[in-house]
C-alpha cells in the first residue's frame, strides 16, 4: 500500500505527538515491570 494512502487513513484519528509519547511510555513501563 502506498504511503500516501496510509497517511490519508491515519489522518482520520487526529492523534497528537503527546498522546503517542504517553502511550509508548506506558507500554514500555508495563513491559519493564513484567520483565522484572
Amino acid at each position: 500500500m502506498r504511503w500516501e494512502r496510509l497517511f490519508e487513513r491515519a489522518s482520520a484519528y487526529e492523534t497528537t505527538t503527546d498522546e503517542i509519547e504517553q502511550v509508548l511510555a506506558s507500554q514500555r513501563n508495563e513491559k519493564r515491570e513484567d520483565d522484572e
Binding site: T15, T17, I20, L24, Q27
Partner: protein, 153 residues
Amino acid sequence: MSEIRVVADADVLAADLLVGGPAREALDHVRRHSWVDLVASDPLLSDAVAVITELADEQLASDWQRRIDEERTAVSHPEGDHPALASAYQSDAAHLLSFAEKLTSAAANRSLQSHMAVSIRTPDAFARLFDPASLYESVHEEGYPGPDRDPRA
C-alpha cells in the same frame, strides 16, 4: 545495508503515520533516498504497532507493519534492550530520531558517545539539519544526484 543508517524510535514511527509534521518530514528525507536505510528491530516495530493499534485501529497498524517491513533493514538485539538504542548500536547507525527528552538531551548524547557514535535528535532537528548532498558525497565519489525515490509511493 547502505552506508547511511537511521533509526527512528517507535514514537517517531507512529507520529510519521498518525500525526505528520516533523516526524513525517524527517522520514520523508529517508524515504526519498535509496542510499539511506531505515533500521528497525522486530521489538521496535512491535512497540510502534502497539501504539498505532491503541490510538488508531488494528487494521491500520497491520497495513503499516506490512509496508514498513518492506522498507526497513532488520537487526536483532538481546531481549530487554531499549529497542531504538539497540537497533542503532547493532547497525552502527549515524542517526537516531526520538521525541523523548531523556534520549535527545545533550547529557544523554554525551553519555552515549563512549558506547556508540550516534547522533540522537528530535525529528524537527533532523529534518532541519539533514544535508543529503554532504552525506551522499561523504560516502560516494560522485556528486549528489538528488532524490531518487518518491517518499509517498
